[in-house]
Structures are given as C-alpha cells and as structure tokens.
C-alpha cells in the first residue's frame, strides 16, 4: 500500500512530524514502512504554459519552435521535440533556472534557435508514468484546459508530496485505507482523526432498481442509482492522489470509486445502469460453466463457487473481484448503479486465485471489510460524483441485509494477565490510555477484568490476547524486559538417532571428507544414469502438484544424483577431485499417488571423484575402491560394529559388478560401497568414481550399547607371518575365515592381510597373500610347538580348500 503524506494529513494533523519520523513510529508500532520517497523531489520553477503558436523548426524535422504563454508579460520561445506538441495545449513549462529531477534547465541553443525553457513530459517531472495512460507518457504531459496559465505546477500536481510504502501484514486490513491508517497514526501521535463527512442530496424519486440476494455469501448489498453524469477525466488533484497511491486514473466515475476505496477501504463498483437489464440486480452463485468477459477483456469461465452480480439475463460482474465488460462505465454512460457490498472473504479469495486475479477490491474483501464503511463509502462516493460529475442521486440507496452487521463487540481484558503474558509492569492508566487512543472503549476499569468495546474497523481484534498485542505495540516493545523462563531445570541430550548422525559426520570429517548439502527436490530424469529396472522402487519419486521448474519436480529417492552433480560441477570448475559426503533424507512413498506421509529415511552417501591430491612422494591417482572401503571401515569400526560386518558382492545397478560390495551388519544390509558403473559415471561425465551409501535408520538398532574395554593381556603374544600362494580369484577374506575356523583353541588373537603380491616370482594366475598372525593364550605363555601346531592346522585347511602353498617355505 502506497500512502500520500499530503492526503493522510487531511485526516490527521501531521504538523511537526517528518515523513521519516512517522515511518519509524509506524514501523515500531507494527505497520512496517518499507520506504519513504519524495514524490518528485525539489522540482522548482515549472509553471503551466499555454502553447500559443507552434511551428516547424527551420533546421530540424523533429523539432518545433513554440511560443509559450507562461502568464508573464512576454511569451517565451521554446524548442520542443515532443510528438504531441500543438497549438492551444497546456503543458508543464520549465523556465530558465528551473530544477527538475534530471537537473537544472538553462538557456540553450537548439539547432540555431534559442530555447527559453523546456516543455516537460511526465517522466521529466518525476510523475509515476507507469500508471499513466499511453497518451500521457508519449511526449508532453498534457494539462487540463482549466489549469491556470502561469500557475506553479508543484502544488497543482502535488509534487511536493511524500509516499510511504507500507508492507502490511495480513491482519491489518484496516490499514488498506487512509481512514484506517489515520486512526493508527492518531493512536500513535495522540491526535484526533477528522474524516470528511458526506451528506449527499438525494431526490425523492424511486431508484428504479431492485436487488435480490440469492446466496448466503453476500450478507449485505447497498446500491445507489445516479443519473445525469458527465464523463471525462477526473480533476487533477484526484488523479494525482490516485497516481501517488499506485492506481491508474481512468475516468471520473471509476476514479471516484477507486478514490473512495482508498479512503474508506470499502471497494465500490459502478455499473452502467442502462446495462442492468430490467433494473434488477441478483447476487447469486455462478452456474457451472457460466462465462463472463471481465473489464480486462478476458473471457472467464466460472464455477459454482463464484459469486456473481447479475441481472435477470446474464452475469454483469464477478463479485468482489472484477466487473463485467458488458456493464462497464463508458464515455457514453449517463446513469450508473453504484455498488457497496460485503462478500464472503474466503469465496472471493478462492475466486481470485482460481482466475489468477488480485484486484485491489479482492485484496480488501478477502481480509474482511468494515461494515461501518459500507454506507459511509457509498455516501462519500455519491457526494463526490455529484461534485465532480454533476450527478443526481435518484432516491435513497437500495439496501438488502441478510444479517445484522456487527458494528462493535466486547472483549474481556485483564490488566494483570496482560502484564503476566508480556512480562511487563505497565500501569492501569497506561493500558487504559492506549485503548482510548486506539478508539477502543474500556469499561469497568475499576474491576480486575475490563470490558473493552472494539469498533468494527478493527476486525482483527477479537481475543483478549489481541488486546495484549495492542497494548504491547503502542507501549513499545522496548518496554518488554529480558528475563529467563522460570521453569524447572531440564536436562537435555540428543536422541540416539541424532547422536548417530553427529558421530557419522564427525567420523567422516575425521577421514578428511568434505560435507555437502544438496537440494532434495529433484527430477525423475536424474535417475536415468542409475540403470534402474523399470519396476525399481527408486522410480517412485513423489511428484509435486505444481513444480516451479523442470529440474525440481519430485522428492529424491536416491542420494547419488545430487552428489554426482556436485562432482560434475567441481570438475568443471577446475577442482581435480575430492571426497564428499552428504547426510540427508530420501523420501520413499508407501504408494503413489500419495495417500499418507511417506517414509523419510535418514541416509548418508559419499562420492570419491577425480584424483587424489598431488603431494611430494605420492603421485596423484584416481580414487579406487579401497579408498572408499577404507573410510567405510573406519566408520564401522568407530561405531563398534566392525566385527559384525561382512562385505558381499553387490548387485546394485549403479555400481561396477566386479568392484562393489553390499555391507551387512549381521544379516541386515545397511548399504553398499563400490566403484560407479562406467555407464552410470558417464551420465555425469565423471570418469572413475567411488560411491558409498548407508541407511542410518537401519543401522541404529544394530549399534552396541556401550564400549567395554578388554583387559590388558597377562601373557606375551607370538607374532608370525605367513605368505600363501592362491588363485587370483580367491578372496582374502575367505583365507582369514578359514584360518579362524581351523584353529583349535581360542589362541588366535588377530589375523590381518598386510600384503598382496603378483608379478615376478609368482606363477601366472596366482597371487601371494601375506597375513600377520598374533597368537596368544589368556592363561599361559604359548610355546613354539603349540603355535606351530596351530599354524599347521591353518595351512592344512588352506591347502585342502584352495590347494594353497606356503610361499618361501
């Protein structure tokens, strides 16, 4: 909402307050003022000029040489390049020395002719040209013939004005009007409001109009018939106020309805009375499929939910949203029906949304209008039409009421509870004063609970707590002190799921990985590189009804595409590689279309892409499977589940079948790790990359409770290595398992693979695996013989199963 300072000052005394000061006070009281801008700052020396002669410039086709009467003894010679300059017109004329937003005007020679000033366009004057009709913006701004020659245009065009731009919250619909804002300013400054009274003269004739309300969604409809209207533009002062408010001036009838709407907050509509067939207005719900062409020239199909204004034959307007073209006020219009009504807020809102409209009227109706303003606005507009269009008001307004309007109501107010709610110690007197300034009427103020009467312009004040807010904001929020809740002390800890996520992040950071966060809204096309079967559950992405863009149409089911895009972006920007991870959610529906909230799984996923860093003593190389598996193992070990974990070949379609593993804790598959399938990697131009993904919700119940240390050993250990030759395909883990099975006693403390070798000295098709054994008994020192026996069992088992031979004896 844009508010003209000068206009506002007609309703409440603003003397001694600057626009910026008022804006600050309003903002502090909850009416946020986004900007305070001078309408056209500092314009001086511009007067109404009458072009008495206009001739072609001798040396320039596009220029005219004009003789302009500016009310002085001598006419001025002014060179003008505007296409619409003509003899007899009045235009704003900047005299030599005048100041315009674009700078100072001097004497200038244009193609050999001296110009003693400048004829101005709307833009040169700083007028809001975007809301002016085309004929007023293409060339000179045309002043009306009534404009007095030589008069200063600054007061004439209201240029010495300020515009306050309000950013209103939806509850303060009252401030969508000069009147509501005047009351607000009145409460802040403690100065009275003076609204212009209107007592239009009405003939004693019958209006010749009937109104029927055929829907409960129009509780009240009032209509005034006016006749003998003159048409043409509205007075300059009215046009300028509309412009300052951001409303397009159209013609004097429409301008009056808009002006009064801005003043009172009550939308009005003027129908051409001759187009209201049979003099009957029927307010009803639209027929399904009913159509109407609205004022903006668009054909619109209506639904039963829409309230229409109609005559017995056709709809002539969409109630509260926009009038119909068929009953539009035209230059030929001499009789109008002026409508001032109340329509159901929710219905108006739905209709506007359905039609993609957000008219000024709709914005006011959907937030609720003040019943007091319905008649007041009608009277005011009638009076203005009489003044401006010489209209005659035919009889009294036609009034149809379905329910008695509530012009006021009472709200209980406990001052003690108000202070307790706010934490303040405001006095009874202060609270009472605030209410009186707001125009509320507190009664029984000697009682613990007051009865406060609220005027209907404050539709938002209904509950006791609403009054607390009124008290708080007018007393000033700086009156609220700082304190801490007087609650009992509570101990707070993270939940196990939150801890698991925090630990996971810390472990992965400790492994040198960088955390990323990607968008969860994605596109089903992102899944294409994953090589998923058609019936894959990953294809069940939950779609949005109205997405904003093609890239973000549905919720992700898989973590890989987001990470892959990050890798792709970074490779394209000169990063040679990286190890990244994301902790986030995937969204798995139980069924589609969605009938209930989906599973939101907590997962983490990681991607190793590009190559490792180049450092002294280590060549840069592509990340490989064991880089990824190493990090996964560190994670599992840190969480204390490493011993229950097994790696099995994975069938994940997005992974390389020979270089990937499912990871199981016990028999629960919690995720997988592996090299991306070359076709998958190619989908994002990634080259070789490693990927891991895990479901934290699956892992959570499998975590061990607490860490219990193993006692320190009392007897020494025997450490011995064995190197064994096996076929290339033999998995190392199988050798370890076989060894564990083979030993007879609980004397094998640990076993791990520390080298794998192929090449010189190793037969083709074979590899040498070196394993380190730590032998220890808990109750005695092992003898060499005991260890040798155990070793032989291991070697025998290997030989039996794989024909393995020890290397180097």
């Amino acid at each position: 909402m844009r508010v003209s300072w000068n206009w506002l000052s007609e309703y409440v005394d603003l003397s001694g307050v600057t626009p910026q000061e008022l804006a600050d006070k309003l903002t502090q009281a909850g009416i946020a003022v986004d900007a305070v801008t001078p309408r056209s700052p500092g314009v001086r020396g511009v007067v109404v000029g009458l072009v008495v002669r206009c001739e072609q410039h001798p040396n320039a086709d596009r220029l005219h040489v004009c003789e302009v009467d500016v009310g002085a003894d001598e006419h001025l010679t002014i060179v003008c390049g505007a296409p619409n300059v003509r003899t007899g017109m009045r235009a704003p004329t900047a005299l030599v020395g005048a100041v315009l937003p674009g700078g100072r005007i001097g004497r200038a020679k244009l193609r050999g002719v001296e110009s003693q000033g400048m004829l101005c366009s709307a833009e040169e004057l700083g007028l809001e040209s975007r809301w002016l009709p085309k004929e007023q913006t293409e060339g000179l701004y045309v002043l009306p013939d009534e404009a007095e020659v030589g008069a200063d245009v600054v007061p004439l065009l209201g240029l010495d004005d300020w515009v306050l731009e309000l950013d209103l919250t939806p509850n303060r619909a009252d401030c969508l009007s000069m009147r509501g804002l005047a009351y607000e300013v009145s409460a802040i400054l403690g100065r009275p409001v003076r609204m212009p009274g209107a007592s239009p003269k009405r003939t004693a004739d019958a209006p010749g109009l009937t109104v029927e309300l055929a829907t409960p969604r129009c509780p009240r409809y009032e209509a005034q018939v006016l006749t003998d209207l003159t048409t043409g533009p509205s007075p300059l002062w009215m046009q300028m106020r509309l412009l300052a408010s951001g409303i397009r001036p159209i013609n004097r009838i429409v301008d009056v309805t808009n002006y009064v709407m801005l003043e009172w907050g009550q939308p009005l509509h003027a129908f051409d009375a001759d187009e209201v067939r049979q003099g009957r207005i029927i307010v009803r719900q639209a027929q399904p499929g009913e159509r109407i062409r609205t004022l903006d020239g668009a054909d619109r199909e209506l639904t039963e939910d829409t309230i229409v204004i109609s005559d017995p034959e056709r709809a002539i307007g969409i109630a509260g949203v926009m009038g119909g073209e068929n009953s539009e006020v035209r230059p030929s219009t001499r009789r109008v029906v002026l409508e001032s009504a109340v329509f159901d807020a929710a219905s108006v809102r739905r209709t506007g949304q359905r039609l993609g409209l957000r008219s000024e009227a709709q914005q006011r109706f959907e937030k609720g209008v003040d019943p007091v303003a319905v008649r007041a606005a009608l009277d005011r507009a009638t009076a203005l039409l009489q003044e401006i269009c010489s209209a005659v008001a035919v009889g009294e307004p036609v009034v149809v009421l379905q329910a008695a309007p509530a012009y006021q109501w009472q709200v209980d107010f406990s001052p003690a509870r108000c202070n307790a709610w706010l934490g303040t110690d405001l006095t009874l007197q202060e609270m009472r004063d605030i209410m009186v300034r707001l125009g509320f009427e507190p009664e029984a103020t000697d009682q613990p609970t007051w009865k406060v009467t609220i005027p209907s312009r404050r539709q938002d004040v209904r509950l006791e707590e609403d009054l607390y807010e009124e008290v708080a904001r007018l007393a000033g929020y700086d009156r609220i002190p700082s304190s801490l809740p007087r609650t009992v002390t509570t101990a707070a800890t993270r939940t196990p799921a939150q801890r698991l996520r925090q630990w996971t992040r810390e472990i992965l950071l400790g492994a040198g990985m960088t955390e990323v966060l990607t968008y969860t809204l994605a596109s089903p096309t992102d899944l294409a590189p994953l090589r998923l079967p058609d019936d894959s559950p990953y294809r069940q992405m939950i779609p949005l009804l109205r997405p904003m863009s093609e890239e973000r149409t549905a919720l992700r089911t898989h973590m890989l595409p987001g990470l892959a895009r990050v890798a792709q972006y970074n490779l394209a920007h000169g990063v040679i590689g990286g190890a990244i991870f994301e902790l986030g959610r995937v969204y798995w529906p139980k069924e589609l279309p969605l009938t209930e909230q989906p599973c939101e799984r907590q997962q983490w996923a990681a991607l190793w892409f590009g190559s490792t860093e180049r450092v002294v003593g280590q060549r840069a190389r592509l990340y490989d499977f064991y880089d990824a598996k190493g990090v996964v193992e560190v994670w599992l070990e840190a969480l204390g589940v490493a011993e229950a974990v097994s790696f099995r070949r994975s069938g994940a379609s997005w992974l390389h079948p020979g270089r990937s593993a499912d990871v199981l804790v016990g028999d629960v598959r919690i995720g997988c790790v592996g090299e991306l399938h070359p076709d998958t990697a190619a989908g994002w131009a990634l080259g070789r990359a490693q990927y891991a993904e895990f479901d934290l919700d699956l892992l959570l119940p499998l975590l061990p409770d607490t860490l219990h240390v193993r006692p320190l050993p009392r007897h020494p250990a025997v450490r011995r290595d064995l190197a064994v030759l096996v076929d290339l395909a033999t998995p190392a883990e199988a050798l370890v398992q076989a060894a564990r099975e083979a030993v007879s006693e609980d004397v094998l403390e640990s076993i791990h693979v520390f080298d794998v070798y192929t090449g010189e000295g190793i037969p083709t098709g074979k590899k040498s695996i070196a394993l380190a054994f730590t032998w220890r008994a808990h109750d005695r020192t092992l003898t060499d013989d005991e260890v040798r026996v155990e070793e032989e069992r291991v070697v025998h088992r290997w030989k039996e199963r794989w024909g393995a031979a020890l290397r180097d004896g």
Partner: protein, 350 residues
Amino acid sequence: MRADEIRTELEAWAEVAVRRLGETSDAKSLEAWRVEHLGKRSGLSQFMRQLSALPADERPLVGAWVNRWRDELQARYEARRAELAAAERQVQLERETIDITLPGRPYRRGAMHPLSKVIAEIEEVFLGMGFEIAEGPEVETEHYNFEMLNIPKDHPARDMQDTFYITEDLLLRTHTSPMQVRTMERMRPRTPVKVIVPGRVYRRDEDDATHSHAFTQMEGLVVDEGIRMSDLKGTLEAFAKAVFGPNQRVRLRPSFFPFTEPSAEVDLVCIHCGGNGCRVCKETGWIEILGAGMVHPRVLDGAGYDSRRYSGFAFGLGVERIAMLKYGIDDIRQLYLNDLRLLRQFARVQ
C-alpha cells in the same frame, strides 16, 4: 741399559706415539693405534719387560715412568676417541640434512558444511539451556502445517507462505512450526515443553540471491505456566550472545504471524558494523534474524495445553541467514552450490 737411557728412549717413543695418535682419522685407525701403543704387545709392554734387566732400586722409578706414560696415553686415547666420534656424528648429521621447507605429509581435515556448523553451534547453545532437539517430517499434512497453527483454509495469511502441494492434504512443510503442535501433542500434559527443531523447509519461491525454494529453519518452543514475552527476549538474548558475542542485544518489533500473539520480528545488533550503520544493515544498525511471539491461545488449546493456564513462546530463525551473516556469504545459492573451493575453507575451526 741404564735407567736414564730407558727414559730417553721412552720419551722419544712416547713423542712418536702422541704424534701418531693425532694422525688417526677414524675408528679403525684409532683402534690400530690402541693395539700398537696400549695393547699387550705394545711398545709400553716392551719397556716393562726391560725392567727386569735393571737394578732393583731403579725398577720402581722406571716402572712409574712407564705407568705414567700409560695413563697419559690412555687419557689421550679417550679424548681422541671422543673427538673422532663427535666429528663422525657431525658428518652423519650433515649427511642426513633435509629440506625442511618441503610441505609435511598431508592429513586432511574434512570440512563441515557451513549450515551444519551453524546448526550444531545453535544446538549446543540450546542444549545447554535444557532444550530438547526434535525433528519432524518434511512431507507434512495441511492439518499440522496450517490448520493447527491458526491458518485456516482460504485465509490471506496463507499468502505469507507459498506452498508446494503434493496432494490436497499433503505438502512440503513451509516452516518448522508444525513441530510446535506435534511436540505439544507428544508431551501433553507434561511441562515444561522446551524444544528446538532444526529442519529443512520449502517455499514455492524463485531461487535468487536471497530466496531459495528450500532452506533451513530452527524452531524454538517453550510452554509452561507463567511463560512471559520477556522470557522470549531473554532467551533470544542468551542465544545471540552465545553465537555472536557477549556484546549482542536483541530488539523486538511488532509483526504478525497467525500462530503467535503478540508477534515480533527480532533484530540483532548488526554484526558488520556493531550497530553504527552500514550497507549490510541498511544504515539502521540492526539486522532482522528471526520471527517470534507468544504462542497463540488457539494453538495452545488445539494442542492440548489450556491457554488460560499455560502460556508459551515460539521463534523460528533462518539458518541460512545466520550462516550468510556470520561467514560473509552474500548469495544463498552458494550454500547449495557445494563448490569445494568454498566448502574446504570450513576445515578451519571457529
């Protein structure tokens, strides 16, 4: 031979021995010297053997001379040995000298995402004040996202949050506030309710430098008997001091949210200029960081806490905004771009 002859010979021999000791250059030559001069077959032993040929009264005298030279040479030998060892260690140290300006072997610290960093920091502050951390579904129902928060259907307040709908009743939550109601329903009738809710929310917004279709909110809620709006101010002040420094203050400005009454926008002293006014704070000295208020009685009653008995406050802060202010990031999209050249800077502790 006479004693004085032996003495002359002994001294001549010793002079040579000392000179040759000085000529030794390493452990090997030193050892050869030792065998030759102090060993069983050494020159000194020769002199000792000559004692028997002397008259008995001269023997002790000559014996003492020989022994003195033995002690002398032994001492000189030890000194020479230490000298040679030191020289050898010196050579070894020089040989082992490396270029200490080469970079150390890298043990890279990972980098936490700035949003995670900010969330973790705020969580610590509120955990310290006894707030639980709760999370909730991102795919929410109309009921929790709007209805229970006093935002009825077809109400203009819905314009404040343009919504991604999935079905008529299911949507992507537009704020973390539904968790106010879910938490109260879970907790009732226990008090106090003290919870923060970090989480991702969605708005049907065009992405630009200051808007994102997805962003992170941190909701806070306290419900008990006797909770005051001043408690909201004090709690947020404690939070601001913990996160932005001990000189922080907060300022409340009236505002409107359908689920709080009264409602407030909360400003912090501008982090960039300390309140003097700058471009970041549009010369006001304050920056808006969150919305807050007293829980609306309809919300309390709807969630099962009688608003005549209980009161509460709630706030919702924008995590991205705080991260941007704290780290000097001026485009919200950078937080989701994941450019490693930016993210790796967060390997630093702070």
